[in-house]
Homo-oligomer: 203 residues x 2
DNA sequence: ACCTGAACACCGTTCAAGT
DNA sequence: ACCTGAACACCGTTCAAGT
């Protein structure tokens, strides 16, 4: 499993194929299926391995629950940002490793500390983690491939050129659509989510 | 392009390969590269085609801006729910077709009608669309493959079994983690996002 | 100039056969 | 019982060669 982590870190998840990993371990690809059922299970194992490294301040002053949430969610998002294609995989994975359960448990605990009703807390954790994963999967494309950068530029150009007759609201919002830095937008989004989770009652 | 849509609708995006589409059009795969640059561009074109069908109530009473947002976002999410693997593709695509721009413009208009400051509106549209796309990509896996259902069950089992010592908060929230129906959770999430976007000022 | 057959360089997964 | 070579059934993309 360390070999898999190394390949991912050094060459990216794209290059971590069953055949490549098998070659690294001096065997045939069929042998890997003794340890994992399929590619998805390998990705799940990698995620849990990575999650072992994020700091979970399970204890701490109850009053700082909001900062705790933001810190953990930022760490989670930044972690996946470094492995965008893993994030893409995680989105369809429903991870279930011990470190992922620990992460869920900690987030739930912080929302509980904030006095958020149980249902909102449970649904909110889902929303928060989905946002982190999706943000990494989406934004993280930058730099991973040349085409992705090209597409980003193509969209910016289109938005620049979007005629004020056809798209009057885009025209008005033009300057804000790509404004702000990644961290600024992430911290705003986390604020939106947490505020909404705390104040919006379910059903 | 109609052939591509038909294959996707009848057999799923997974089966819509360059080779399969070329065969359908009685030619070799190389010929497709005259019309699209790559697979991503084909997916982008498909998304824009689908978006042509969603109703955009651009006009209407200004006071109903919130309902308008919820209606459009629900339609967008439901649309992608039927094509989960397209949703996965869209997440990394930064779509730029005319119908996608129209969707952005309409959402911006509704947030403007709600008196949301320009920056919050612009960033908020991003957040809303990302949520819709990610939800479809994530939940939509159900039924598309047998393994995905199995993984869902595996997670439910793990959460059921999660010991109260190791994961006390999961233990307490157990009954709520999988509670509610898809539509209930979607409408709650949209409420969270809209409330948060309206009330959380950027920077 | 426009189109495409055939090849390049790969995939994940299965299974019969070996140890 | 455990492991794996070789095969199955595919991919997206490129490019030299034809029309």
């Amino acid at each position: 499993m360390t070999a898999a982590l190394r390949i991912m870190r050094e060459e990216g998840l794209e290059r971590l194929t069953m055949r490549r990993l098998a070659a690294e371990l001096d065997t045939g690809p069929a042998s890997l299926y003794v340890y994992v059922q399929n590619m998805a299970e390998l990705h799940a194992a990698l995620l849990d391995e990575l999650l072992a490294d994020i700091a979970l301040p399970h204890t701490g002053p109850v009053a700082r629950w909001r900062d705790g949430l933001i810190d953990i969610m930022t760490a989670y998002t930044v972690l996946l940002f470094q492995h965008p294609s893993l994030a893409r995989s995680v989105l369809t994975l429903r991870p279930s490793g011990p470190n992922y359960l620990r992460l869920i448990d900690t987030l739930l605990g912080l929302l509980n500390a904030g006095g958020v009703p149980q249902r909102q807390a449970a649904w909110g954790v889902n929303l928060l983690l989905q946002h982190g994963t999706a943000t990494a999967a989406e934004q993280g494309t930058r730099g991973e491939s040349v085409e992705a950068d090209g597409e980003q530029l193509a969209l910016m150009w289109l938005v620049e050129e979007a005629s004020s007759e056809d798209y009057p609201n885009i025209d008005r919002a033009r300057s804000e659509i790509f404004s702000g830095t990644g961290p600024e937008r992430l911290s705003w989004a986390l604020g939106v989510l947490i505020d909404g989770i705390v104040t919006t009652s379910a059903l």
